[in-house]
Symmetry: C2
Subunit: 212 residues, 2 copies
Amino acid sequence: VSPGIPAEETRISDSTVRRLSGYYRILEELQEQGETTVSSYELARRAGVTPAQVRKDLSFFGHFGKRGTGYAVRQLFPKIQSILGLDRRWRVCLVGAGNLAHALFAYKEFAREGFEIHAVLDNDPEKIGQGWSGLTVEPYETLARVVRERKLDIGIITTPASAAQEVADRLVAAGIHGILNFAPRKLFVAPQVNLRNVNLAIELESLSFALK
Amino acid sequence: VSPGIPAEETRISDSTVRRLSGYYRILEELQEQGETTVSSYELARRAGVTPAQVRKDLSFFGHFGKRGTGYAVRQLFPKIQSILGLDRRWRVCLVGAGNLAHALFAYKEFAREGFEIHAVLDNDPEKIGQGWSGLTVEPYETLARVVRERKLDIGIITTPASAAQEVADRLVAAGIHGILNFAPRKLFVAPQVNLRNVNLAIELESLSFALK
């Protein structure tokens, strides 16, 4: 077991990972601003959580901070980057070449964090063959071959809800272990597959909660 | 103060609201399946949290459950719906008529939960005048008038990052109190404005965390 990385990392909750993503962005910003240290108070203030929460979250992964001086930005940033798996590249395909896929394809944050889109697939004859700055939309039926030949790690589902389960099954059959699902449908996959559902309405819900 | 709704609801954390959104979906599903009661254990299992967390989250808003019989689905569902502000309609505009706006416009969950898109605006002459099933893309410079005349509550920013702050300023000047920002740029707004940032990369980060 390498220092700072617990053996049972899968026990870390989704909320913790989400907060780590937040700390990661804040540390990146601090580093760009030339800051060398940050206190748990300042990190907490920027992340909108309590200092105790920051210390608890980071304690899962080792002892980073020094009492009185805070965290060293240059040490903590790459540590969190590595914890989140952002110090390597992930090979991604998009299944469903609609507007959302277009938007995700153009989303520069993905590439910047190591998520590289290597294929876009669809079953619509009008979309197959479209050029997407460097890539060509490929037929959905070639999915298994594309995943294997290009050694893809992650599949992003941007199809209509009705197609999503079938696509998930095919991705898993092709050897994909990570799925990000944007279709508003609950999907079922084998327990060894990591599935994340993105519900775009949830953010609007937290806004309506605050507004009402 | 109405029963079950605390006076200082704004102290409820974002994580709690996010979990409430999860419970809301589970209860909706249970209701559709004809279930009448649900235990905190079952709700916790489906939401991927602990039963103690469920009880704690719901205790903020009153006493719903009965020891031994669990929560009444038909009582808890509308309660959470109301807490989240989903028992009313919200009038929304999209600023930036690109692919992401198209995808959000087509996203049926929004309308189903009461978020109604009443305007789409852009400053690109090629986009202005486009018909979007019932709506026409309008010039960005008419934003203030559109917000006032159509009594809009929420603005969704789907512009490039470079334009996002200017758009946020204009939305606020026009009287908008809730902003959902999809542009990958940190925005600054007056404290009375509710701003939520959607970072599409965060979901991929939690996937890479689990995969590595």
